[in-house]
């Protein structure tokens, strides 16, 4: 009974406890709340790293809730009935992304949030969202996935709109909540159909029973619709610029990681749950074409934006297109499994971590700009590079990384995507490269408009905790850019293999071979 065995459930339960205890401790004394936040954050990151190390070295981790021992998956009837957490390579990778983004957001929020503007509230919601994201990524049960999906929806929308003294966040939060609820209900309808047909909610058991009947296909269509909407694929992406643009900076980066967790849910459904029923490459072509459409439409909209936060938000939506493209290419060729399919999936999955770090850095820098000058309108900004030197440098680094300039991490993952999607169809590569070039134009415009030029006004420089948070993300970007092969071999390839070929291992770990 070591703590390592219980690490998956602790990684979800401790931030949940942290969220509920935080307001109580804040009433006692504010520094008690800060200490508690640091302790919970550090412990959660330690648990996530423990889970990841165990998953990458000793195979799939299974944790059954409520059984005599955590590995007792099958109950007395020969049928898994308890809720279980199943962590394979892909879940562990997504957990690492959530931990990195959560850590950066927590450090940033210490000096960014002001007491009279609801700091306790924002930190409580952040821990709730973090717990929900880790729950979505580690769970092995479909209804549990839905519950954590809704927990993250509620926490995310509350984070978007809690600043009720302005009118725009409330409008964004209403629209986002409506869209998230519709998506969640589509997922619940699909889970209901699957339960009614096969009588189980356990992911592995359902995966072994799904054979491709008409009802299964309807459930797959509903799941695709709901999860693609939550991931922000065009044409259902329009909530994303509102939500990311109006959320405060420390919440916007966690919202991006939340969207990636929904995208992880989509991969889990397509590669593990429905692997037995997807024989034709049609679904793969659907995902690939949506990816290409997303990256083009979002980056074209970003060129004409005047609000810095909304511009970066459209950039985030377009990067989701790259992830859809990469993994979609892998899904299209899944039946014959050529080598370039695995490379495409490595590119898409590596891009998830790159995007989380890079967009995170850009949003944090935009938050510093808002706090320094009071506005994010590009028509009024200029010359901030004189006072905000470090922030300008971080923004430049993030922009170069996102646009895919060597030797940074964006180039490594985009190269993998370009070279493998070329083997499927050269048109995909052409549009993807065009999207990258347009993204470089978008960020050159933003950088020039905000940071370059003569000094026009006084700007308050960033505080230490904000710089440390941005520094953490910048260090990750530089590390993944200069030694990409280390990260791809040890982190990304186990995750890609878990989806590409790992379904049998997943079923064996839960159902006992």
């Amino acid at each position: 009974m070591t703590i390592g065995m219980h690490a998956p459930i602790l990684a979800i339960a401790v931030p949940l406890l942290g969220a509920f205890a935080l307001p109580v401790l804040a009433k006692v004394h504010r520094s008690l709340r800060d200490l508690w936040a640091i302790a919970v954050g550090a412990f959660t990151c330690a648990m996530v790293i423990t889970v990841a190390v165990q998953a990458f070295t000793s195979g799939i981790q299974v944790y059954t809730l409520g059984a005599a021992s955590p590995t007792d998956t099958i109950a007395s009837g020969g049928f898994p009935i308890r809720i279980m957490l199943v962590v394979d390579g892909m879940s562990a990778f997504m957990g690492l992304i959530s931990a990195l983004v959560g850590l950066a957001s927590l450090i940033y929020a210490f000096h960014f949030l002001k007491e009279e503007q609801g700091k306790t509230l924002a930190m409580t919601l952040f821990f709730l969202l973090w717990a929900g994201m880790l729950g979505m990524e580690y769970t092995g049960d479909m209804f549990n996935f839905f519950v954590f999906l809704e927990v993250t929806s509620i926490a995310a929308c509350a984070l978007v709109g809690y600043r009720t003294w302005e009118s725009r966040p409330a409008e964004a939060a209403f629209k986002t909540m409506a869209m998230y609820t519709v998506g969640g209900l589509l997922v619940l309808l699909a889970i209901g159909i699957l339960y009614g047909e096969h009588g189980a909610l356990n992911l592995a058991y359902l995966s072994s029973r799904i054979a491709g009947s008409q009802l299964d296909k309807i459930a797959l269509g509903l799941l695709l619709g709901g999860l693609l909407m939550k991931a922000g694929a065009v044409p259902a992406h329009m909530w994303a610029p509102d939500a990311y643009g109006e959320a405060p900076a420390q919440a916007a980066i966690v919202l991006v990681a939340n969207t990636q967790a929904s995208l992880y849910g989509l991969w889990r459904v397509l590669f593990t749950l429905f692997a037995g029923a997807l024989s034709a490459p049609a679904v793969g072509w659907l995902v690939t074409s949506l990816g290409v459409l997303t990256l083009l439409v979002a980056v074209l909209m970003a060129v004409i934006q005047t609000d810095l936060g909304r511009l970066i938000a459209y950039g985030a939506v377009s990067q989701i297109g790259y992830m859809l493209l990469g993994v979609g290419v892998g899904l299209t060729v899944l039946s014959s499994r050529p080598d370039f399919g695995l490379v495409a999936m490595q590119g898409g999955i590596f891009h998830m971590m790159n995007d989380a770090a890079t967009i995170g850095l850009l949003f944090l820098a935009a938050g510093v700009v808002k706090r320094a000058v009071g506005t994010r309108d590009l028509r009024a900004l200029g010359g901030l590079g004189h006072d905000l030197k470090w922030t300008g440098g971080f923004f430049f680094l993030g922009a170069m990384a996102l646009a895919g300039i060597p030797p940074l991490n964006g180039f490594a993952s985009k190269l993998l995507i370009y070279e493998s999607s070329f083997r499927l169809s050269p048109i995909l590569t052409a549009i993807a490269v065009l999207g990258s070039i347009l993204l470089l134009a978008v960020f050159a415009r933003a950088f020039q408009g905000a940071f370059l030029g003569p000094r026009l006004r006084e700007a308050k420089p960033a505080s230490l905790s904000m710089l440390i948070a941005m520094g953490v993300l910048a260090a990750v970007i530089l590390a993944m850019g200069l030694v990409p092969d280390f990260f791809v071999e040890h982190l990304v390839t186990p995750a890609a293999e878990a989806l590409w070929r790992g379904r049998d291992l997943y079923l064996a770990a839960v159902l006992g071979g």
């Binding site: 409008e171 909540m177 209901g192 909209m301």
Partner: protein, 115 residues
């Protein structure tokens, strides 16, 4: 003897809720539309558990050898109702805040975030 009628009712509820979301402008009506969709999905979940000639799944009251309706969908529906409560409360709270700032609940007029 009523066959698939409950499922048809569920689909009608969901369709009504979607129609309200697509074609109505008042923010409260949009929230009601979402509540209708939730009710339809909850009804669908409860209906899934029906076993013909089954009794309520209370272990101590059931006659020996009786068939019980499935209890799991009832638990799922309870969870879903609570989640629906939280989302509706949040949406209505934001509708109140929007009304306080803009003085209107017409979704076509509350469009600061566009383009």
């Amino acid at each position: 003897m009523i066959g698939n009628f409950p499922f048809v009712v569920c689909m009608i509820l969901i369709a009504l809720g979607l129609w309200a979301l697509l074609f109505r402008r008042n923010l409260i009506k949009l929230a009601i539309g979402i509540t209708l969709i939730e009710s339809g999905v909850n009804l669908f979940l409860v209906t899934l558990g029906y076993v013909r000639a089954g009794v309520a799944p209370i272990y101590t009251y059931a006659p020996p050898g009786a068939k019980m309706v499935l209890p799991t969908p009832q638990a799922l529906t309870l969870t879903s109702i609570v989640i629906g409560l939280a989302t509706t409360a949040l949406m209505l709270a934001f509708a109140v805040v929007i009304y306080r700032h803009r003085g209107t609940l017409d979704a076509r007029k509350i469009r600061e975030l566009k383009g």
